[in-house]
Protein backbone atom coordinates (compact mmCIF):
# COMPACT_ATOMS: atom_id res chain seq x y z
CA UNK A 1 0.00 0.00 0.00
CA UNK A 2 2.69 2.41 1.03
CA UNK A 3 4.70 1.27 -1.95
CA UNK A 4 1.76 1.93 -4.19
CA UNK A 5 1.24 5.43 -2.82
CA UNK A 6 4.90 6.14 -3.18
CA UNK A 7 4.87 5.15 -6.79
CA UNK A 8 1.74 7.15 -7.28
CA UNK A 9 3.49 10.25 -6.04
CA UNK A 10 6.58 9.57 -8.09
CA UNK A 11 8.79 8.80 -5.14
CA UNK A 12 11.23 6.23 -6.29
CA UNK A 13 14.06 5.85 -3.85
CA UNK A 14 17.17 7.79 -4.68
CA UNK A 15 19.21 4.98 -3.20
CA UNK A 16 18.68 3.06 -6.43
CA UNK A 17 20.21 5.96 -8.31
CA UNK A 18 23.07 6.09 -5.85
CA UNK A 19 23.68 2.39 -6.29
CA UNK A 20 23.73 2.64 -10.05
CA UNK A 21 26.06 5.64 -10.08
CA UNK A 22 28.35 3.94 -7.64
CA UNK A 23 28.53 0.81 -9.75
CA UNK A 24 29.46 2.74 -12.86
CA UNK A 25 31.89 5.09 -11.22
CA UNK A 26 33.75 2.21 -9.63
CA UNK A 27 34.04 0.41 -12.94
CA UNK A 28 35.59 3.46 -14.55
CA UNK A 29 37.82 4.03 -11.52
CA UNK A 30 39.08 0.49 -11.67
CA UNK A 31 39.80 0.75 -15.37
CA UNK A 32 41.63 4.00 -14.88
CA UNK A 33 43.78 2.40 -12.26
CA UNK A 34 44.64 -0.60 -14.38
CA UNK A 35 46.25 0.57 -17.61
CA UNK A 36 48.23 -2.63 -17.87
CA UNK A 37 44.98 -4.59 -17.84
CA UNK A 38 43.74 -2.58 -20.80
CA UNK A 39 46.96 -3.27 -22.68
CA UNK A 40 46.56 -6.95 -21.99
CA UNK A 41 42.94 -6.84 -23.12
CA UNK A 42 43.99 -5.09 -26.30
CA UNK A 43 46.58 -7.74 -27.03
CA UNK A 44 44.16 -10.57 -26.34
CA UNK A 45 41.53 -8.97 -28.51
CA UNK A 46 43.94 -8.64 -31.38
CA UNK A 47 45.12 -12.20 -30.98
CA UNK A 48 41.60 -13.51 -31.21
CA UNK A 49 40.69 -11.41 -34.20
CA UNK A 50 43.97 -12.20 -35.90
CA UNK A 51 42.95 -15.80 -36.04
CA UNK A 52 40.44 -14.79 -38.63
CA UNK A 53 41.65 -11.66 -40.35
CA UNK A 54 44.84 -9.68 -40.55
CA UNK A 55 44.67 -6.51 -38.53
CA UNK A 56 46.82 -3.43 -38.28
CA UNK A 57 48.33 -3.80 -34.84
CA UNK A 58 49.72 -0.31 -34.77
CA UNK A 59 46.43 1.44 -35.28
CA UNK A 60 44.25 -0.31 -32.77
CA UNK A 61 42.20 1.83 -30.47
CA UNK A 62 40.47 0.48 -27.41
CA UNK A 63 38.39 2.81 -25.33
CA UNK A 64 35.87 2.65 -22.59
CA UNK A 65 32.97 4.92 -22.88
CA UNK A 66 30.26 5.70 -20.43
CA UNK A 67 26.86 5.49 -21.93
CA UNK A 68 23.82 6.40 -19.91
CA UNK A 69 23.45 3.24 -17.88
CA UNK A 70 26.36 1.15 -18.95
CA UNK A 71 30.01 1.12 -19.61
CA UNK A 72 30.93 0.22 -23.18
CA UNK A 73 34.11 -1.16 -24.58
CA UNK A 74 34.76 0.38 -27.96
CA UNK A 75 37.46 -1.10 -30.09
CA UNK A 76 38.53 0.15 -33.45
CA UNK A 77 40.68 -2.41 -35.18
CA UNK A 78 41.66 -1.74 -38.79
CA UNK A 79 41.72 -4.86 -40.93
CA UNK A 80 44.48 -5.19 -43.48
CA UNK A 81 43.36 -8.27 -45.26
CA UNK A 82 40.95 -11.12 -45.23
CA UNK A 83 41.85 -14.46 -46.69
CA UNK A 84 39.98 -15.93 -49.56
CA UNK A 85 37.47 -18.37 -48.17
CA UNK A 86 38.45 -21.93 -48.96
CA UNK A 87 35.87 -24.67 -49.08
CA UNK A 88 32.63 -24.13 -47.27
CA UNK A 89 33.84 -21.48 -44.92
CA UNK A 90 31.88 -21.98 -41.73
CA UNK A 91 34.11 -24.40 -39.93
CA UNK A 92 37.59 -25.28 -39.08
CA UNK A 93 39.05 -22.06 -37.78
CA UNK A 94 40.58 -24.21 -35.11
CA UNK A 95 41.01 -22.54 -31.79
CA UNK A 96 44.55 -23.41 -31.06
CA UNK A 97 44.43 -23.50 -27.35
CA UNK A 98 45.30 -19.92 -26.55
CA UNK A 99 48.75 -20.05 -28.10
CA UNK A 100 49.82 -16.79 -29.67
CA UNK A 101 48.74 -16.62 -33.25
CA UNK A 102 50.76 -15.27 -36.11
CA UNK A 103 48.76 -12.73 -37.98
CA UNK A 104 48.10 -13.63 -41.58
CA UNK A 105 50.77 -11.95 -43.61
CA UNK A 106 52.02 -11.79 -47.22
CA UNK A 107 50.10 -14.90 -48.06
CA UNK A 108 46.94 -12.86 -48.37
CA UNK A 109 45.70 -12.62 -51.92
CA UNK A 110 45.91 -9.14 -53.39
CA UNK A 111 42.23 -8.85 -54.04
CA UNK A 112 41.30 -9.43 -50.46
CA UNK A 113 42.73 -6.25 -48.99
CA UNK A 114 40.03 -4.57 -47.06
CA UNK A 115 40.30 -1.41 -45.06
CA UNK A 116 37.61 -1.72 -42.52
CA UNK A 117 37.20 -2.04 -38.87
CA UNK A 118 35.98 -4.67 -36.55
CA UNK A 119 34.03 -2.96 -33.88
CA UNK A 120 33.52 -4.78 -30.66
CA UNK A 121 31.05 -3.19 -28.38
CA UNK A 122 29.92 -4.01 -24.93
CA UNK A 123 26.52 -3.43 -23.56
CA UNK A 124 25.12 -0.25 -25.10
CA UNK A 125 21.54 -1.29 -24.59
CA UNK A 126 19.96 0.56 -27.44
CA UNK A 127 22.14 -0.95 -30.13
CA UNK A 128 20.47 -3.79 -31.92
CA UNK A 129 22.26 -6.84 -30.97
CA UNK A 130 23.79 -9.75 -32.66
CA UNK A 131 23.49 -13.27 -31.38
CA UNK A 132 24.18 -13.41 -27.64
CA UNK A 133 22.38 -10.57 -25.99
CA UNK A 134 23.34 -11.30 -22.44
CA UNK A 135 25.02 -8.43 -20.68
CA UNK A 136 27.63 -7.43 -19.82
CA UNK A 137 29.47 -8.30 -23.01
CA UNK A 138 27.81 -8.30 -26.33
CA UNK A 139 29.77 -8.40 -29.49
CA UNK A 140 28.79 -7.06 -32.76
CA UNK A 141 31.03 -7.14 -35.71
CA UNK A 142 30.62 -5.11 -38.77
CA UNK A 143 31.79 -6.93 -41.82
CA UNK A 144 32.39 -10.17 -40.16
CA UNK A 145 33.91 -12.33 -42.80
CA UNK A 146 34.30 -15.76 -41.51
CA UNK A 147 37.34 -16.52 -43.48
CA UNK A 148 38.36 -20.05 -42.97
CA UNK A 149 41.67 -20.17 -41.28
CA UNK A 150 44.66 -19.90 -43.46
CA UNK A 151 47.50 -22.27 -42.88
CA UNK A 152 49.45 -19.52 -41.21
CA UNK A 153 46.72 -18.44 -38.86
CA UNK A 154 45.82 -21.76 -37.38
CA UNK A 155 46.63 -25.35 -37.91
CA UNK A 156 43.71 -27.13 -39.49
CA UNK A 157 42.09 -29.51 -37.07
CA UNK A 158 42.05 -32.53 -39.29
Amino acid sequence: MIEFLRRLFGQSGSSATAKERLRLVLMTDHLELAPEMIEKLKADLVDVISRHVEVDRDRIEVNFERQDTALALLANIPIISVNRPNGNGRHGNGSNGGAPVEPVSETAPAGAVVEDAVAVEAPAPKKKAAADATPPVRKRRRRKKHAAASAAAAPTPT
Binding site: R6, S15, L26
Partner: protein, 284 residues
Protein backbone atom coordinates in the same frame (compact mmCIF):
# COMPACT_ATOMS: atom_id res chain seq x y z
CA UNK B 1 37.95 -8.43 33.37
CA UNK B 2 41.30 -6.96 34.21
CA UNK B 3 44.75 -6.81 32.80
CA UNK B 4 45.80 -10.34 33.52
CA UNK B 5 42.89 -11.86 31.74
CA UNK B 6 42.89 -9.27 29.02
CA UNK B 7 46.46 -9.83 28.02
CA UNK B 8 45.47 -13.29 26.96
CA UNK B 9 43.93 -11.92 23.82
CA UNK B 10 45.90 -13.54 21.10
CA UNK B 11 47.67 -11.46 18.52
CA UNK B 12 48.71 -13.29 15.43
CA UNK B 13 51.88 -11.36 14.69
CA UNK B 14 53.36 -12.38 17.98
CA UNK B 15 57.05 -11.77 18.41
CA UNK B 16 58.96 -14.59 19.99
CA UNK B 17 60.20 -12.54 22.96
CA UNK B 18 57.13 -10.61 24.02
CA UNK B 19 53.75 -10.65 22.44
CA UNK B 20 53.29 -7.49 20.43
CA UNK B 21 50.04 -5.58 20.50
CA UNK B 22 47.94 -5.12 17.39
CA UNK B 23 48.42 -1.94 15.41
CA UNK B 24 45.18 -1.07 13.66
CA UNK B 25 44.81 1.93 11.40
CA UNK B 26 41.36 3.49 11.01
CA UNK B 27 41.05 5.00 7.61
CA UNK B 28 38.49 5.98 4.98
CA UNK B 29 39.96 8.16 2.27
CA UNK B 30 37.15 10.65 2.52
CA UNK B 31 37.02 13.11 5.38
CA UNK B 32 34.10 13.57 7.71
CA UNK B 33 32.86 10.01 7.75
CA UNK B 34 33.66 9.49 11.42
CA UNK B 35 37.13 8.02 11.62
CA UNK B 36 38.02 9.98 14.71
CA UNK B 37 34.69 9.30 16.40
CA UNK B 38 35.09 5.61 15.63
CA UNK B 39 38.65 5.60 16.92
CA UNK B 40 37.64 7.28 20.18
CA UNK B 41 34.70 4.97 20.76
CA UNK B 42 36.36 1.76 19.70
CA UNK B 43 39.35 2.64 21.86
CA UNK B 44 37.13 3.38 24.83
CA UNK B 45 35.20 0.14 24.37
CA UNK B 46 38.36 -1.94 23.97
CA UNK B 47 39.94 -0.36 27.05
CA UNK B 48 36.84 -1.17 29.08
CA UNK B 49 37.66 -4.80 28.42
CA UNK B 50 40.76 -4.31 30.51
CA UNK B 51 43.31 -4.37 27.72
CA UNK B 52 45.86 -1.61 27.29
CA UNK B 53 44.96 0.69 24.43
CA UNK B 54 46.73 3.69 22.96
CA UNK B 55 45.06 5.98 20.45
CA UNK B 56 47.46 7.67 18.08
CA UNK B 57 46.23 10.79 16.33
CA UNK B 58 48.07 10.72 13.02
CA UNK B 59 46.15 13.68 11.67
CA UNK B 60 49.09 16.05 12.05
CA UNK B 61 48.01 19.66 11.73
CA UNK B 62 44.36 18.91 12.40
CA UNK B 63 44.39 17.38 15.82
CA UNK B 64 40.95 16.29 16.99
CA UNK B 65 41.07 13.04 18.84
CA UNK B 66 41.96 14.90 22.06
CA UNK B 67 38.69 16.83 21.78
CA UNK B 68 36.55 13.73 21.38
CA UNK B 69 38.17 12.22 24.45
CA UNK B 70 37.91 15.44 26.43
CA UNK B 71 41.67 15.54 26.88
CA UNK B 72 42.50 18.71 24.99
CA UNK B 73 43.65 20.55 28.09
CA UNK B 74 45.96 17.77 29.16
CA UNK B 75 48.02 17.43 26.02
CA UNK B 76 51.49 18.77 26.70
CA UNK B 77 53.55 16.95 24.11
CA UNK B 78 52.63 15.40 20.84
CA UNK B 79 53.55 12.85 18.23
CA UNK B 80 56.21 14.99 16.57
CA UNK B 81 57.80 15.85 19.90
CA UNK B 82 58.31 12.15 20.38
CA UNK B 83 59.42 11.46 16.82
CA UNK B 84 61.91 14.31 16.97
CA UNK B 85 63.02 13.40 20.47
CA UNK B 86 61.97 16.56 22.24
CA UNK B 87 59.88 14.51 24.62
CA UNK B 88 59.80 10.94 25.78
CA UNK B 89 56.89 8.69 25.02
CA UNK B 90 55.91 8.76 28.67
CA UNK B 91 55.78 12.54 28.62
CA UNK B 92 53.53 12.52 25.60
CA UNK B 93 51.10 9.74 26.49
CA UNK B 94 47.98 11.28 28.01
CA UNK B 95 45.98 8.96 30.26
CA UNK B 96 42.26 8.97 29.63
CA UNK B 97 39.82 10.32 32.18
CA UNK B 98 37.82 7.17 31.87
CA UNK B 99 39.49 3.91 32.61
CA UNK B 100 43.14 3.46 33.40
CA UNK B 101 44.12 1.40 30.40
CA UNK B 102 43.41 4.00 27.72
CA UNK B 103 46.00 6.52 26.53
CA UNK B 104 46.21 9.16 23.86
CA UNK B 105 49.16 10.24 21.78
CA UNK B 106 48.03 13.52 20.28
CA UNK B 107 48.97 14.91 16.90
CA UNK B 108 50.98 18.09 16.51
CA UNK B 109 48.72 20.98 15.74
CA UNK B 110 51.29 23.44 14.49
CA UNK B 111 53.01 21.14 12.05
CA UNK B 112 52.25 19.51 8.76
CA UNK B 113 51.75 15.95 7.73
CA UNK B 114 54.84 15.99 5.56
CA UNK B 115 56.95 16.72 8.63
CA UNK B 116 56.53 13.15 9.77
CA UNK B 117 59.18 10.72 8.70
CA UNK B 118 57.70 7.42 7.68
CA UNK B 119 60.50 5.31 9.13
CA UNK B 120 60.35 7.06 12.48
CA UNK B 121 56.60 6.66 12.59
CA UNK B 122 56.99 2.97 11.89
CA UNK B 123 59.51 2.62 14.69
CA UNK B 124 57.25 4.49 17.11
CA UNK B 125 54.28 2.24 16.39
CA UNK B 126 56.55 -0.73 16.92
CA UNK B 127 57.54 0.63 20.33
CA UNK B 128 53.90 1.22 21.21
CA UNK B 129 53.05 -2.33 20.22
CA UNK B 130 55.52 -3.53 22.80
CA UNK B 131 53.73 -1.60 25.50
CA UNK B 132 50.07 -1.80 24.51
CA UNK B 133 47.69 -4.53 23.47
CA UNK B 134 46.06 -2.27 20.91
CA UNK B 135 47.49 0.65 19.02
CA UNK B 136 44.67 2.40 17.16
CA UNK B 137 45.90 4.88 14.60
CA UNK B 138 43.51 7.60 13.53
CA UNK B 139 44.45 8.26 9.92
CA UNK B 140 43.99 11.64 8.26
CA UNK B 141 41.70 11.96 5.26
CA UNK B 142 43.30 11.67 1.86
CA UNK B 143 45.75 9.22 0.36
CA UNK B 144 48.90 11.31 0.45
CA UNK B 145 51.85 11.21 2.77
CA UNK B 146 49.70 11.59 5.88
CA UNK B 147 47.86 8.42 4.95
CA UNK B 148 51.09 6.62 4.12
CA UNK B 149 52.62 7.56 7.44
CA UNK B 150 49.54 6.52 9.39
CA UNK B 151 49.46 3.20 7.64
CA UNK B 152 53.20 2.55 7.76
CA UNK B 153 53.36 0.97 11.17
CA UNK B 154 49.97 -0.72 11.15
CA UNK B 155 49.39 -4.35 10.45
CA UNK B 156 45.60 -4.24 10.24
CA UNK B 157 43.05 -1.76 8.97
CA UNK B 158 39.51 -0.80 9.80
CA UNK B 159 37.85 1.24 7.09
CA UNK B 160 35.05 3.57 8.03
CA UNK B 161 32.43 4.27 5.41
CA UNK B 162 29.15 6.14 5.34
CA UNK B 163 26.32 5.01 3.05
CA UNK B 164 27.14 7.60 0.40
CA UNK B 165 28.42 7.25 -3.13
CA UNK B 166 31.48 9.41 -2.52
CA UNK B 167 32.43 7.66 0.72
CA UNK B 168 32.08 4.19 -0.79
CA UNK B 169 34.12 5.20 -3.79
CA UNK B 170 36.90 6.53 -1.58
CA UNK B 171 36.91 3.46 0.61
CA UNK B 172 37.15 1.33 -2.50
CA UNK B 173 40.21 3.31 -3.51
CA UNK B 174 41.79 3.09 -0.08
CA UNK B 175 41.21 -0.64 0.11
CA UNK B 176 42.95 -0.93 -3.26
CA UNK B 177 45.89 1.04 -1.91
CA UNK B 178 46.07 -0.99 1.28
CA UNK B 179 46.35 -4.24 -0.61
CA UNK B 180 46.11 -7.58 1.08
CA UNK B 181 48.48 -6.97 3.93
CA UNK B 182 46.03 -5.15 6.19
CA UNK B 183 43.02 -7.45 5.90
CA UNK B 184 40.68 -4.45 6.08
CA UNK B 185 37.44 -4.74 7.98
CA UNK B 186 34.48 -2.45 7.58
CA UNK B 187 32.53 -0.18 9.90
CA UNK B 188 29.53 1.48 8.31
CA UNK B 189 28.87 4.74 10.05
CA UNK B 190 26.03 7.25 10.05
CA UNK B 191 23.38 4.91 8.74
CA UNK B 192 19.90 6.35 8.95
CA UNK B 193 17.50 3.43 9.20
CA UNK B 194 14.45 5.51 8.34
CA UNK B 195 16.03 6.64 5.09
CA UNK B 196 17.18 3.17 4.19
CA UNK B 197 13.68 1.90 4.77
CA UNK B 198 12.32 4.53 2.42
CA UNK B 199 14.86 3.70 -0.22
CA UNK B 200 16.57 7.04 0.15
CA UNK B 201 19.85 5.82 1.47
CA UNK B 202 22.18 3.04 0.45
CA UNK B 203 21.66 0.04 2.68
CA UNK B 204 24.33 -2.01 4.41
CA UNK B 205 23.87 -4.63 1.72
CA UNK B 206 24.22 -2.07 -1.05
CA UNK B 207 27.46 -0.80 0.39
CA UNK B 208 28.96 -4.15 1.05
CA UNK B 209 27.86 -5.65 -2.24
CA UNK B 210 30.43 -3.27 -3.65
CA UNK B 211 33.12 -3.25 -1.01
CA UNK B 212 32.88 -6.91 -0.07
CA UNK B 213 34.71 -6.56 3.22
CA UNK B 214 34.23 -8.37 6.51
CA UNK B 215 31.69 -6.24 8.37
CA UNK B 216 32.54 -5.32 11.95
CA UNK B 217 29.35 -3.43 12.55
CA UNK B 218 27.00 -0.63 11.65
CA UNK B 219 26.57 2.58 13.61
CA UNK B 220 23.43 4.66 13.27
CA UNK B 221 23.50 8.39 12.76
CA UNK B 222 22.42 9.51 16.17
CA UNK B 223 22.04 12.82 17.97
CA UNK B 224 23.70 11.25 21.01
CA UNK B 225 26.98 11.12 19.11
CA UNK B 226 26.92 14.88 18.74
CA UNK B 227 26.04 15.42 22.36
CA UNK B 228 28.84 13.19 23.60
CA UNK B 229 31.28 14.82 21.21
CA UNK B 230 30.31 18.20 22.62
CA UNK B 231 31.11 16.94 26.08
CA UNK B 232 34.24 15.01 25.19
CA UNK B 233 32.85 11.78 26.54
CA UNK B 234 32.73 9.01 23.97
CA UNK B 235 29.33 7.36 23.67
CA UNK B 236 30.97 4.01 24.29
CA UNK B 237 31.08 4.98 27.96
CA UNK B 238 27.35 4.43 28.02
CA UNK B 239 26.66 0.81 27.45
CA UNK B 240 22.94 1.24 27.95
CA UNK B 241 22.80 3.46 24.88
CA UNK B 242 22.20 1.34 21.74
CA UNK B 243 25.01 3.06 19.87
CA UNK B 244 27.33 2.81 22.84
CA UNK B 245 26.51 -0.89 22.98
CA UNK B 246 27.17 -1.18 19.25
CA UNK B 247 30.72 0.10 19.82
CA UNK B 248 31.20 -2.51 22.51
CA UNK B 249 30.03 -5.20 20.13
CA UNK B 250 32.46 -3.96 17.51
CA UNK B 251 35.23 -3.98 20.12
CA UNK B 252 34.34 -7.55 21.02
CA UNK B 253 34.53 -8.53 17.37
CA UNK B 254 37.87 -6.80 16.98
CA UNK B 255 39.07 -8.76 20.00
CA UNK B 256 38.06 -11.93 18.20
CA UNK B 257 34.87 -12.71 20.07
CA UNK B 258 32.15 -14.40 18.09
CA UNK B 259 29.33 -11.91 18.56
CA UNK B 260 27.04 -10.70 15.79
CA UNK B 261 27.86 -7.47 13.98
CA UNK B 262 25.79 -4.70 15.55
CA UNK B 263 23.13 -3.35 13.26
CA UNK B 264 20.64 -0.56 13.97
CA UNK B 265 17.11 -1.93 13.65
CA UNK B 266 15.26 -0.98 10.49
CA UNK B 267 12.04 -0.83 12.42
CA UNK B 268 8.62 -0.41 10.89
CA UNK B 269 7.53 3.13 10.09
CA UNK B 270 5.41 4.74 12.76
CA UNK B 271 1.95 5.98 11.97
CA UNK B 272 3.18 9.57 11.93
CA UNK B 273 5.96 8.63 9.58
CA UNK B 274 3.48 7.08 7.23
CA UNK B 275 1.35 10.16 7.28
CA UNK B 276 4.27 12.48 6.67
CA UNK B 277 5.71 10.32 3.95
CA UNK B 278 2.30 10.28 2.34
CA UNK B 279 1.93 14.01 2.53
CA UNK B 280 5.39 15.33 2.06
CA UNK B 281 7.58 12.51 0.92
CA UNK B 282 7.70 13.22 -2.75
CA UNK B 283 11.31 14.25 -2.80
CA UNK B 284 13.44 11.19 -2.80
Amino acid sequence: MHQTQAVEHETEAAAPARRLGRAIVLTSGKGGVGKTTTTANLGTALASRGVKVVLVDADVGLRNLDILLGLESRVKHHLLDVLEERATLDDALVPSKHGDTLYLLAAAQSREKDDVETEKMKALIETLRERFDYVLIDCPAGIELGFKNAVAGADEAIVVCTPEVSAVRDVDRVVGLLGNRFRPQLVINRLRPALVRKGKMLSVEDVNAILRLPLLGVIADEPDIIVTTNRGEPLALRRENPTGAAYHAIAARVAGEDVPAPMPPLSKPSFMERVSSFLGGKRA
